[in-house]
């Protein structure tokens, strides 16, 4: 009987009000104005600063706002108008910044944006501010200014073929950024507040759904050793907001942490798989199949010399303290790990690409540091030119048997020069095949083009890491330097075939952006992730045993059960493919997954707690009543030695997330 739903439907129909005609007219006008404004940004339109009608509308908006301050509706109605309108006029704002032709927001706007986020009870307090700011822009609100430019830039960038505007906007942003030095923490408030309030672009897919073993017994994916997502999550939480769900890639959070999995035997495969089966923390009726790969640690002492080309983004947006200055400090830390045989070169890209440091022995620290210190941010970003030059330098440096790698450091500004992302990816993939790898380091927030960075690193067989603090630089560039720079296995793919006799349903946690087609597993031409020296990689499946009450899908009525060997108690079969560096043919590792596998170590438990944490942040449907508190408790018991405090930090982040998500 579905009459409960019918009853609900009827009640809902009765309760749903008709749209208010005044509000409708107002909202539609707002939509049309934004539509027009967007057209105004198109390259063939007149410059927006001359767009008189908008100015007129804006003034009307401001006065309406002031007149109707007492009603919430009035406030809400005008804020969006102001949001777009004030960008256009703002004579007061203009004088605060150097380029006179720049279109600048008045400080009133961010206040307006905030109005829409805030509760009724703050209205009166904000009223005063809004009014004040319209009249007298004080020095303080300048802090808010970049947000608006970003909003505009976002509009410009998302409207695709407007490179000229993207460029000029990013230049404006850089000037602004220069004026305010440290990135204001308040700015992050807006990141999720309006749906298009910044230029960050995150790469993610919808979370993996539940697979029915009988229908689809095989799961195939590429490993992922990136850690960038964890960095972004940390930076969001530390700034007091929950990260955008698309910024959360669960596998990158899990793989951020060093684990002490069983190391491979000398002379065998370059890495060793360990499979454990444990109780799912968030569901009493399912289990986790935990697959850990531990890469071998080659003798550091006789490592081959390195050729490193730092490709550094010196565009204006890199000026913030958490970008270029942090980058310089980070590279100084890293230099200490290099040896005289290693060679370092620096290529910059900003407007035009340039060789800032000829290939130099890492022993000559003074020369390298001098070149590094001379780097200054300014100009717009042309990613591709710089990349081409960096690769040609790297190729000249490489001798036989040497590892060469381009390390791209950027805040994600690729909005000039990247006319065709696919061509860029192809370019990087070609270079990868000729032996030069690419790693990507992301700096700063607000502008981070996570999607492009991830795509580049994936195609370049490199790691993408997000550096937000010097501590993170220490981890990525010093503690784990050899892992980041010495690949021990390329194109590592995992394929698991589940046994329908024992497993009814399964779900891979994370790795959404790394999914491969089943047939890609045996196709050596299909690219996949690499494992660096000493890297640990973790993949976790949640599986539902047959007959468990947690099974979510009913058996099909018209489908005869596939014949399965009932005598087998195997949960599934694990296949791994990898290539040794420089080889074109892959090797295969196979092993059955048994109900009783390796004992559940503390590392396995911690990684499961992080997987749960990541899913909470993504708002997963599968966690039931499992809460932040449970994640904290589980991670705390599994903290172990935690030599560098990474796990303690994760637990603090969980606490923050808990508080932030509490009503």
């Amino acid at each position: 009987m579905s009459d409960t739903l019918d009853k609900l439907n009827a009640a809902m129909k009765a309760a749903t009000p008709e749209p208010d005609q005044a509000a409708k007219a107002k909202n539609m006008r707002l939509a049309m104005e934004n539509f027009d404004l967007l057209q105004g940004l198109a390259p063939d339109a007149r410059p927006i600063a001359e767009n008189r009608p908008v100015v007129g509308r804006l003034k009307a908006g401001v006065s309406t706002m002031i007149q109707s301050l007492t009603t919430r509706g009035g406030l809400a109605a005008t804020t969006a108008l102001v949001a777009f309108g004030l960008i256009v006029i703002s004579p007061q704002g203009r004088s605060l910044f150097t380029p006179p032709d720049v279109v600048l927001p008045s400080p009133a706007e961010p206040q307006g944006t905030r109005l829409r986020d805030d509760t009724f009870d703050k209205v009166s307090e904000v009223d005063g501010n809004a009014a004040t700011h319209v009249e007298i822009p004080a020095a303080e609100p300048v802090m808010n200014a970049p947000v608006i430019l970003q909003e505009l830039a976002d509009t410009a960038v998302s409207s695709a073929p407007t490179p000229a505007i993207g460029q000029s906007l990013s230049k404006h942003r850089s000037n602004l950024a220069g004026g305010i030095a440290p990135m204001p923490a308040r700015r992050l408030e807006y990141e999720t507040s309006t749906p298009q309030s910044n230029t960050e672009a995150f790469s993610n897919e919808a979370p993996n759904h539940l697979n029915v073993t009988i229908d689809d017994p095989v799961s195939t994916f590429s490993i992922d050793v990136d850690t960038a997502s964890y960095g972004v999550v940390r930076s969001s939480l530390s700034n007091g907001i929950l990260p955008p769900t698309d910024a959360v890639r669960v596998e990158e959070m899990v793989n951020y942490f060093p684990y002490d999995y069983a190391a491979p035997d000398a002379g065998g495969a370059p890495f060793r798989p360990t499979v454990s089966v444990m109780q799912t923390p968030w569901n009493a009726d399912t289990q986790l199949v935990h697959i850990a790969l531990q890469g071998q640690m080659p003798a550091i002492d006789d490592r081959p010399p390195l050729n490193l080309v730092f490709l550094i983004d010196t565009s204006g947006s890199m000026q913030n303290a958490d970008k270029l200055p942090l980058l310089k400090q980070s590279f100084r830390l890293m230099l200490g790990q290099l040896r005289p045989q290693d060679q370092v070169a620096i290529v910059t890209y900003a407007g035009s690409a340039g060789l800032a440091l000829e290939p130099t022995s890492a022993g000559d620290r003074a020369t390298i540091i001098a070149a590094l210190e001379q780097l200054e941010a300014g100009g717009s970003t042309a990613g591709q030119q710089g990349l081409q030059q960096a690769y040609s330098v790297a190729e000249k440096m490489a001798e036989d048997g040497e590892v060469s790698r381009v390390i791209l450091a950027t805040d994600g500004d690729f909005n000039v020069g990247l006319s065709d992302p696919d061509a860029l990816k192809t370019f990087i993939a070609d270079k990868r095949d000729s032996g030069t790898y690419l790693s990507v380091l992301g700096f700063g927030r607000g502008n981070l083009d996570d999607a492009t960075l991830q795509a580049l690193a994936q195609n370049g067989n490199g790691q993408a890491a997000y550096i937000d603090t010097l501590t993170e630089a220490q981890k990525a560039l010093v503690d784990q330097l050899s892992g980041a720079l010495f690949p021990i296995a390329n194109d590592v793919k995992i394929q698991v075939e589940f046994n329908p006799a024992t497993i009814a349903e399964y779900r891979l946690i994370g790795y959404e952006t790394r999914a491969l087609a089943r047939e890609d597993f045996n196709n050596d031409k299909v690219d996949a992730g690499e494992i660096g020296a000493g890297h640990a990689v973790t993949a976790i499946y949640e599986v539902t045993p047959t007959g468990s009450q947690a099974v979510l899908n009913n058996p099909l009525r018209y489908q005869t059960e596939a014949a399965v060997d009932d005598t087998s108690s195997e949960l599934g079969f694990l296949r791994l493919r990898y290539k040794k560096p420089g080889e074109a043919t892959s090797a295969l590792i196979e092993m059955p997954i048994l109900p009783e596998m390796s004992p559940v170590s503390i590392d396995v438990q911690f990684s499961a707690a992080i997987a749960g944490f990541g899913q909470l942040l993504r708002g997963s449907d599968y966690l039931g009543e499992w809460s932040w508190g449970d994640a904290i408790a589980m991670a705390s018991t599994a903290r172990g030695e935690d030599e560098f405090g990474y796990r303690a930090e994760a637990i603090s982040l969980m606490r923050l997330a808990k508080s932030l998500s509490a009503d």
């Binding site: 579905s2 609900l8 934004n34 509706g73 969006a80 509760t119 749906p195 508080s659």
Partner: protein
């Protein structure tokens, strides 16, 4: 003549700068959008704010419309995401839940013979977990199929059906509890 143009064609024209197409499309869809906003939020004020958010960002979002999906599915997705953003914002600012949660107090002030039903509706919607409530809100007025609702929410059709049956279970349980009292 334009009245017969499909939403998808209008959306594509609007995406490439056709002002009239955009206006017509909005006119066609506004009421449905508002009703969905109400079902998602449970209060007129919240629904109006949400609709306003959507209107403000629709022009820029529309540029990404590629006509791979039905326009209605695409639009509902934009709406659901905007609702998420509002909810997330609310969480960020650690404020009290609005909409369905806050209804009770507002409704008590109201009168009328329908109020019994209205209270029941509020109770029913409030008792549903977020994902179920969202699914129910999408499917309730029967404008979209389970498959489309799946596309809107980024889950499979099976998940939608499962959520609906869970929601029914929930409602039956609620009914039983009331009967038992």
């Amino acid at each position: 003549m334009r009245m017969k143009t499909s939403d998808e064609a209008l959306a594509k024209a609007a995406a490439s700068g056709d002002r009239d197409a955009f206006a017509l499309l909005l006119e066609r869809r506004y009421d449905g959008l508002f009703r969905l906003a109400f079902r998602l939020t449970g209060s007129r004020a919240e629904a109006e704010d949400l609709t306003q958010d959507i209107c403000a960002l629709l022009p820029s979002k529309l540029r990404a419309f590629r006509a791979e999906a039905k326009f209605s599915t695409w639009l509902y997705r934009v709406a659901v995401n905007a609702a998420h953003d509002r909810r997330r914002k609310a969480q960020t600012h650690a404020r009290m839940a609005q909409g369905w949660g806050e209804w009770e107090t507002a409704i008590k002030a109201e009168q009328s013979e329908t109020s019994g039903q209205v209270v029941w509706l509020n109770e029913a919607m409030t008792s549903l977990p977020d994902d179920l409530r969202e699914t129910v809100a999408l499917v309730l007025d029967q404008e979209i199929t389970h498959r489309e609702a799946g596309e809107v929410l980024g889950v499979s059709e099976g998940t939608i059906s499962w959520r609906i049956s869970e929601a029914k279970k929930h409602l039956r349980y609620l009914a039983k509890q009331e009967a038992g009292q």
